[in-house]
Point group: C2
Chain length 319, copies 2
């Protein structure tokens, strides 16, 4: 006899909560942010074929589903507290659920982020997580704070997830450890939570790179009423990506999508503080350009020559 909805919830997702007053199993979960803190909230919905491939291991999918939400908290400088999980599944598949829950809850535990509620239903596979973090009132990193003259930074490396996608699409060939590495970037991104928290009061703006660097940066520029110049050769990339043709390096780093690194701005006098924040968070950050007073996004190469911006950002309806 198949497990019913309530057995499912109980078996895989019921855990004792420590920060929340009440967790999974009532009509609502109950909790409160610490006094003086604001709540930061983000929702992401993951759909097969759009946000993950049918070939992904359930454990990695569980990881990714939470990681993309934690990345939104990171972009705001918020510390993770809790999350809800709504899950539509074509059928009750215990092996899938066991793996999914394992990957999901391992990442949750690593960030002290409690599963406090949710919903399960039958339907085409769909994962919707809403995550809650907290940040001292007035210190959240926003898209709207970039100032002319600020340095422009990015964390980690960009482009590996897109490179992996192109391999799955058959556009490029890659094997062995090289493929494993970029596949890992695509399927198990690392949300830059510690960096986001360390950048409170330092970064003037931030966003996470989910739809491609240039597209996401454009949101910051529009909200902040500024422009930017980006050195496309300075955008950090892995050794695997560096071994690809330059056109793929640029496409993947500038318009790749699914990177979940942070792009942020900070005043030039904060350069040492930014470096210290990166060390504290144990992630590389690279200066890739500057914020300009003049609107628009200008791309230059290492030689200072203009590079035409032919890199379209990722759009879930027009990809």
């Amino acid at each position: 006899m198949p497990l019913g909805e309530f057995d499912l919830i109980a078996k895989f997702f019921t855990r004792r909560v420590t920060r929340a007053a009440l967790g999974v199993g009532d009509d609502c979960a109950l909790f409160a942010p610490t006094i003086g803190m604001q709540l930061a909230v983000s929702s992401d919905m993951l759909v097969e074929g759009r946000h993950f491939l049918p070939t992904v291991a359930p454990q990695r999918l569980g990881h990714k589903a939470l990681a993309v939400n934690l990345s939104d908290l990171a972009a705001c400088g918020a510390a993770p507290m809790a999350f809800t999980l709504a899950l539509a599944l074509p059928r009750v598949d215990e092996a899938f659920l066991a793996g999914f829950a394992q990957g999901l809850l391992a990442l949750a535990d690593a960030h002290g982020c409690e599963l406090i509620g949710g919903d399960t239903t039958q339907g085409p596979l769909n994962i919707c997580i809403t995550v809650f973090g907290e940040v001292p009132v007035g210190t959240a990193l926003l898209r709207s704070g970039a100032q002319a003259g600020d340095d422009l930074y990015v964390s980690g490396t960009l482009g590996d997830a897109r490179l992996a996608l192109e391999v799955f699409r058959g556009t490029l060939a890659l094997e062995g450890t090289a493929f494993d590495a970029v596949r890992g970037a695509m399927e198990q991104p690392t949300p830059r939570v510690a960096l986001g928290v360390a950048l409170r009061g330092v970064a003037t703006s931030a966003i996470d790179v989910s739809d491609g660097l240039l597209g996401d940066l454009a949101h910051v520029l529009r909200r902040s009423g500024v422009g930017a110049t980006v050195d496309v050769d300075a955008v950090p990339r892995s050794a695997v990506l560096r071994a690809q043709p330059l056109v793929w390096q640029r496409t993947c780093t500038l318009a790749g999508g699914d990177d979940y690194e942070l792009v942020f701005t900070a005043a030039p006098h904060q350069a040492d503080t930014v470096a210290a924040a990166a060390r504290l968070a144990q992630v590389h950050v690279t200066r890739i350009g500057r914020i300009d007073a003049a609107a628009g996004l200008r791309l230059v190469d290492d030689a200072g020559c203009n590079v035409p911006n032919t890199f379209a950002s990722f759009d879930h309806f027009n990809a």
Copy 2:
């Protein structure tokens, strides 16, 4: 040229927020519950064919998607504050979105509940709302508080939504205003928010009826470690349902699902206070039984005779 994801969000779902510090358009929304209040959080995911029929008008679907979440807040006695909306759509359909947003935001406005963030993506139609309410610390209505000797109540009438579903399924025939009335109950349920708030400190336990009265009541009994006796003929039903054969009346009221009424318990000496809360909330409440110390659910009819419990609760995986 089709509207892109960001245009979509901007066109239909960007609104000025008043209670939240930051709404749609950044990585996270920012807000804080009032000092002394706990946050109540609930997520519900709606899938076509499971939670609504393809024939539903977009406006009604928008209403229902939020209503089922507000109903969870009502069951906790929490006052609505805000919500996030994650939406997967097969294609950009402006007429659908316009209607959906209209129904959704009209109900949101009626409850002072702000849309503060979310996500849109392409995929099989799926609507996931996470709703936030607030309730004074320690006063939330829980499933776990029912006491032996308590009276058992239900709000409104039960069973019309199931009756409408059976008409759509072709099991029963119903036309004209009778059909319109039960279809309205199915497609546009009224969350009992004011009643939930009025029952703080009065009801000892509460749950909303989403999967059928007996199934949802069973959660309360299990969590509270008690049993109950329900007078099946006392369960309130509409005139339309009362015109149906008794077996359908019982099936629809006891195991109908999609009712979104509140089932709650209160000590007998609170009967006048319960009646006052119902008047304040402008909804009928009916006493339908009592809580017993002995475990188990006993059904009796008006004559006091036992009724066998052959009514299965609604399960999204085994329906």
